[in-house]
Symmetry: C2
Subunit: 425 residues, 2 copies
Amino acid sequence: MMKSDILELETKAKEAKAASRRLADLATGVKNKALSNIADDLLSRKDEILAANEADYKQAETSGMSAAMLDRLQLTESRLESMASDVRAVATLPDPVGEIFDMRTLPNGLIVGKKRVPLGVIGTIYESRPNVTIDISSLCLKSGNAIILRGGKEAIHSNTALAGVAQQAIARAGVPDGAIQFIGNTSRELVSRMLRMNEVIDLIVPRGGAGLIEFVRENAAMPVVAGGIGVCHTYVDRAADIAKAIAIAFNAKVQRPTVCNALDSLLVHKDIARKYLPQIAGEWAREGVEMHCDPASLDILGQEKSLKLAPATDDDWGKEFLSLVAAIKVVNSLDEALEHIERYGSGHSEAIITEDYGAAMRFLNSVDAACVYANASTRFTDGGQFGLGAEVGISTQKMHARGPLGLKEITSYKWIIFGTGQVRP
Amino acid sequence: MMKSDILELETKAKEAKAASRRLADLATGVKNKALSNIADDLLSRKDEILAANEADYKQAETSGMSAAMLDRLQLTESRLESMASDVRAVATLPDPVGEIFDMRTLPNGLIVGKKRVPLGVIGTIYESRPNVTIDISSLCLKSGNAIILRGGKEAIHSNTALAGVAQQAIARAGVPDGAIQFIGNTSRELVSRMLRMNEVIDLIVPRGGAGLIEFVRENAAMPVVAGGIGVCHTYVDRAADIAKAIAIAFNAKVQRPTVCNALDSLLVHKDIARKYLPQIAGEWAREGVEMHCDPASLDILGQEKSLKLAPATDDDWGKEFLSLVAAIKVVNSLDEALEHIERYGSGHSEAIITEDYGAAMRFLNSVDAACVYANASTRFTDGGQFGLGAEVGISTQKMHARGPLGLKEITSYKWIIFGTGQVRP
């Protein structure tokens, strides 16, 4: 790493800090115009973005990147359209900055309440998915935060192109210079340096694999909101509607297997296993899903020669597959399912499929995870799907914010107090 | 530190974790009864509590503890009454656990929202003020969190007595064993050990001096919410009502100078300084306030022989005095006051005294601090005063919660999703 890279990082961080002070007061109209410009330019400049992405993709393919990672890396015209539409969705959301809440008059006449304010400067360190560049930039802009983007080397061309598009689009709308900073150096040493800049960066959001997140957690001097590791269970209760249970487990595993909210383990109540398992296994098999089965489920499915089956090992429980693999376990009760999830879940997304009202309510109440579902696919854990426009990330921690991080979740507040001369007795 | 102390800490932490699971579902009525028992017992067992406190006080006095620290340490019958009344106030507050918010139906029919849940186990490391033992225990109990209390050695007798009272009072109401844990070992090594227990302790709240807070921030493996260092400014604008400005600055400095929300620096607009400064200085002098003056204020006050004046040094700006000392500076404009506060404030509590509406609104908008006041004493920054019943601490950070930490601020939430078979398209 060269001295000039460090200098560049420090300069960009200081520019971000300076910009953040002006962003905090920026008119909603200017922010929305900037977002609308980003959406326009993603489409009008699609050729140059896709060309940059193509360069990354070819390089990644040559270097032997896994299909899962290649899928996360790839941009297509339809993915660009979906990114632009997410940006427009952020523009239509209410501006979180300045929101007044919990305000009331105290018996002594003081008017006390909270006013929502930006956090300041957010740094993000992310791997692979280039749409993160735009998602996070949009949310930070709308919430009055400056952003320092540091993407991975596998997407460097795509990220450079996307960040350039965003920077030029917002400048045209009159957003202060420095609001979106992009770090082109992809070395780990530069990340280490960034993680020590707690005087300038108020929050770090790592997005990527477990290794990256652990590295950031251990080395960051500033607060970190992390998550994204999703070991997601779907529990098919004895009182499940079989058709729903098939549709949901199929969707949760197959619709996009490379992401954190995809199904990893399927838990099935013993009373319904003989009826349900062959059906879902047949559906999954047609999409190429490999099934790692506990003894009881292997006993049920073992005769089916068309299935890709393997006996589950201890490692399969609590594993995030990020591919067309699912672990399957037959449980004796809802209690056993709850215990299994408590032991092996990562606190991301968990689902029960049941028509038993009491079982559904008990599951929703008992499971300690960011998102707990009754009768729906865990694939919905997503800022866009939850109506937040997009997401900065998905938090599996309990502090500050949990689950998809939208606009509110990257703000703070201050107490404001209107007095008329009050003193404390 | 003995091996048995570590073992005891680990056992207590595990008991707290086990208790936290049951506390999360504890009925509001049981929690309120437990709080009411604590309040009763603080009064009915006051002799033994005050005797324990007397032992601490004598020892501290002999060891040469400062008047400020002695004041923080001391319990009196009236302080016990006030503690009991704070506990009863917590009982009357709505139970935060289970609160449902942001719930709505999405276009696809999914019902999505958030449900408030406890954080789990909170650890607190605190110095001196024994009322913290009761304040934090009450708030944790009401919010369904287990608490591990580790107070300072200077208050060991008081804290042991108070924790014992609380533990017995809540047991009588049927709260699960282990909800309130007290660590009698006051060594720094045990704190270090506690700060590594991130598997069991979900949040650490340090309360004490800058040294303690820095130590905790640097060594804690779990999230920390810290603050409490208050370098508080009161700015008397050119358009201030003189009588209000005198009453407020007097109250902010004198009413309890040993706490974090007391006034440290008085900033006075040049146009009002000649009229205002001699009056507030005269009031302060009668209470023994020592004034560290910048050249302009020294020029105004220098002739008054009855005042305790000294020229301000660079160290006086940004200093938390915690005693009857105030720094005084004459400023040329609201802008200069804002710049001074941005540079020297600790983000705790800042006030403007003015009858100029625009100046008040600008100050409230611009100052980046946990609590920003117009025309009131900064002494109001307090959970009890803000109607939160009591406080776990006062956060000067922006993440998770800012300002006084009441019940809501020591909770998290989970997303709950009611589906009817939805899958992601």
